[in-house]
């Protein structure tokens, strides 16, 4: 197991393409404790969120079946999916901005892959198969030994139960806890689609945490590959202080040595199988395991900690980290603009939809004895969970525009959609040619006010002169 990692190839992939499994050692240090606390908080947050109700619905309930998305009391319909733009770009942008400032802090502290692997599944590994030495020994043993079979089988069973639980919580975000419970208690064939989704999710999670592990970070996840573009000399990364550490080895009379004693502890604890002393690498998920490992050794040697630490490349080269630099300032400015636009957009989401079109195969306008008429087709959607009475009002400057047959209002059931023809009339004597106008969809409780601009088509007014 003591292969020396090299920068030119991936430690976990052999020359022949075979997968090499790592059995990293555990080191419990200050960073490890902080990371574990964060991980527990994140797992608790993920597991508890579907149970919390805001405004009669779970805090986050992505009801794909009914194409309705409940977020912290707000209900969004399929027509509001464009808001996802802000979620996706905001998420990406936030990660980019954080990377410029603090490196891959996302990977090491908050990415679900790291959180579950390091703080759930590796705990199971240690429980069933012992520390890294006995795990490596177990790897080498043949399956015919009952001890291996029992230990690894027990571990697999525990994995399966955990993945099954995570898959259920994941599914709860899409069908809610009240929707999930009857599915759990019912027979699988009663809800085949949900059962298959749950089984597939469990299988994928099991495969990921049992076999795939760091391959996801190294080969599938694009984030690490973007690192070279996102990180600059002032980004804080997990780095090895070469100036202090080198040359490695034991000091002896006549032999000059740095602080690194080449104990290889940092390599043993690395979950992606790199040697941090070779500098910043694509594989590094900034998990700080090597920081804890080295600090532990340095403390034992009564040398100052921080030979491997959070530091920027500039700091490691002897300079000072600049946090305020054009890049971070620009990111902060753009992030502020994005947040403002996203907030305004979210606040302007209406519990009703209102779309206008002209019905096909009808005349653009109709001139009768006393009026000019335009016919529109209005699509009115009640996105809310309560019945509402809707009114459509016409607003035009300088022209008296009336809507035929629109006095009592239109009652629309919750989440229903009605297509309503609107005949708009202008008195012939008032008609002064084509004009723009606005239609306002209003509800009697004042909760809805959606505007739609439209154009009134008509003949040249001179042709109407008697």
């Amino acid at each position: 197991m003591s292969r020396s990692p090299v920068r030119e190839s991936v430690t976990t992939i052999g020359r022949d393409g075979t997968r090499r499994f790592l059995q990293p050692a555990i080191v419990i240090g200050a960073w490890w404790r902080a990371r574990r606390l964060v991980a527990w908080l994140l797992i608790a947050f993920f597991a508890l969120l579907p149970w919390i109700e805001v405004g009669g619905f779970p805090a986050v309930f992505l009801d794909v079946e009914h194409r309705r998305f409940h977020l912290l009391g707000a209900t969004l319909g399929l027509g509001d999916v464009w808001l996802l733009f802000f979620v996706i770009t905001g998420w990406g942008f936030l990660i980019y901005a954080t990377t410029a400032l603090l490196g891959r802090i996302w990977c090491g502290w908050t990415c679900p892959q790291t959180v579950y692997l390091e703080h759930v599944f590796r705990v199971v590994d240690r429980f069933f198969e012992g520390d890294h030495v006995s795990r490596a020994k177990l790897d080498a043993e043949p399956w015919s030994r009952p001890a291996k079979f029992l230990r690894r089988g027990g571990r697999a069973l525990a994995y399966l139960v955990l993945c099954w639980a995570v898959a259920h919580i994941f599914l709860a975000y899409f069908i809610s806890i009240p929707g999930l419970y009857p599915m759990i208690t019912a027979a699988p064939q009663a809800h085949p689609a949900a059962f298959v989704a749950m089984a597939v999710a469990t299988g994928v999670l099991f495969f990921n945490f049992w076999w795939f592990r760091e391959q996801l970070c190294l080969i599938i996840c694009p984030y690490g590959r973007l690192q070279s573009a996102l990180i600059d000399d002032d980004s804080v990364i997990v780095g090895y202080d070469e100036k202090r550490g080198e040359p490695r080895g034991k000091a002896a009379p006549g032999v000059v040595a740095g602080d690194c004693v080449d104990c290889r502890r940092c390599v043993q604890v690395c979950p992606t199988g790199i040697d941090i002393r070779q500098g910043l690498q694509m594989e590094c998920v900034a998990c700080t395991a090597c920081v804890d490992a080295c600090d532990d050794v340095m403390t034992k040697l009564k040398r100052p900690a921080g030979l491997v630490r959070y530091a920027s490349l500039r700091e490691l080269a002897g300079g000072r980290t600049r946090f305020l630099r054009p890049r971070t300032l620009l990111y902060a400015a753009l992030l502020t603009v994005g947040l403002i636009v996203a907030t305004v957009s979210l606040l302007r989401v209406q519990p009703a939809g209102f779309k206008l079109s002209r019905p096909p195969q009808t005349e653009l306008y109709v001139v009768s004895a006393d009026s000019v008429a335009n016919v529109f087709r209005a699509k009115i959607q009640n996105k809310d969970d309560v019945e509402r009475r809707f009114f459509v009002e016409a607003e035009a400057t300088g022209t008296r525009l009336t809507i035929l047959n629109q006095s009592a209002g239109l009652i629309i059931a919750p989440q229903a959609e009605v297509t309503l023809p609107l005949t708009l009339l202008v008195d012939r004597r008032d008609y002064r040619g084509e004009f723009n106008f606005t239609l306002r969809l209003r509800s009697d409780d004042g909760k809805v006010s959606v505007l739609q601009k439209a154009h009134f088509i008509g003949p040249d007014p001179r042709t109407l002169a008697r």
Binding site: R3, S4, V6, E8, S9, V10, I13, G14, R15, D16, G17, T18, R19, F212, Q215, I219, P359, P360, Q361, T362, E363, V366, S368, A373, V375, R377, L404, N405, V418, T419, L420, P421, L422, T423
Partner: protein, 193 residues
């Protein structure tokens, strides 16, 4: 294990750029070969042997089932039933709602018709057939007028049940046997509102 630590550099060099001779991860290659195998099996099953159900066949079957459901709703519809429905207040309320929601935009809120758009319906002159069933069919399937289809063909939008209701609503203003057929080319003046 020392042998596999330093990868071999490939002999070629392009613009001074060289590359290591690294193998892809086997699991990665497996996804490639598995997708090739899947494509072959899928092609065999879907396009060659026809083992998998064709999408078009599945779509046609589903459309046929939908049509059958709609037809079942009006299976027993005949002239007498329509006229009976036209005197049933529940049906009329539904029909009126449909009319007020859709039909009025072309035929006018009081069925007085809109010139150049839709015929008046509140008289006893009928251009496209003077029976209840003819009116039902016209609303359901639409009529061709001056060589172009009109905007009706409402079966998809409303479903046959509501088309029957709105037909009944129209018939409620008529007397059975008193609907007159009219040739609009001969008596156009009768039709304008």
């Amino acid at each position: 294990m020392q042998d596999d630590e330093q990868p071999v550099i490939m002999p070629h060099s392009y613009d001074g750029i060289q590359e290591y001779d690294q193998s892809l991860p086997n699991w990665w290659l497996f996804t490639l070969f598995a997708s090739i195998a899947f494509a072959f099996v899928y092609w065999l099953a879907n396009f060659t042997t026809g083992t998998l159900p064709d999408d078009r066949v599945a779509l046609d079957a589903e459309l046929a089932a939908l049509e059958a459901r709609q037809l079942a709703a009006v299976k027993d519809l005949d002239e007498a039933t329509l006229w009976k429905m036209s005197r049933n207040p529940t049906t009329l309320a539904e029909g009126q709602a449909v009319y007020a929601g859709l039909c009025f935009s072309c035929h006018g809120p009081k069925m007085e018709g809109i010139k150049g758009v839709g015929f008046r319906l509140n008289d006893d002159l009928w251009v496209h057939g003077n029976t209840g069933m003819a009116v039902f069919r016209n609303i359901n399937e639409g009529v061709v007028f001056d060589g172009k289809p009109t905007g009706m063909a409402a079966q998809k939008a409303l479903g046959a049940g509501r088309v029957a209701a709105v037909t009944a609503y129209l018939l409620s203003f008529q007397q059975q046997g008193r609907m007159q057929a009219i040739d609009r080319t001969k008596e156009p003046s009768q039709l304008t509102p």
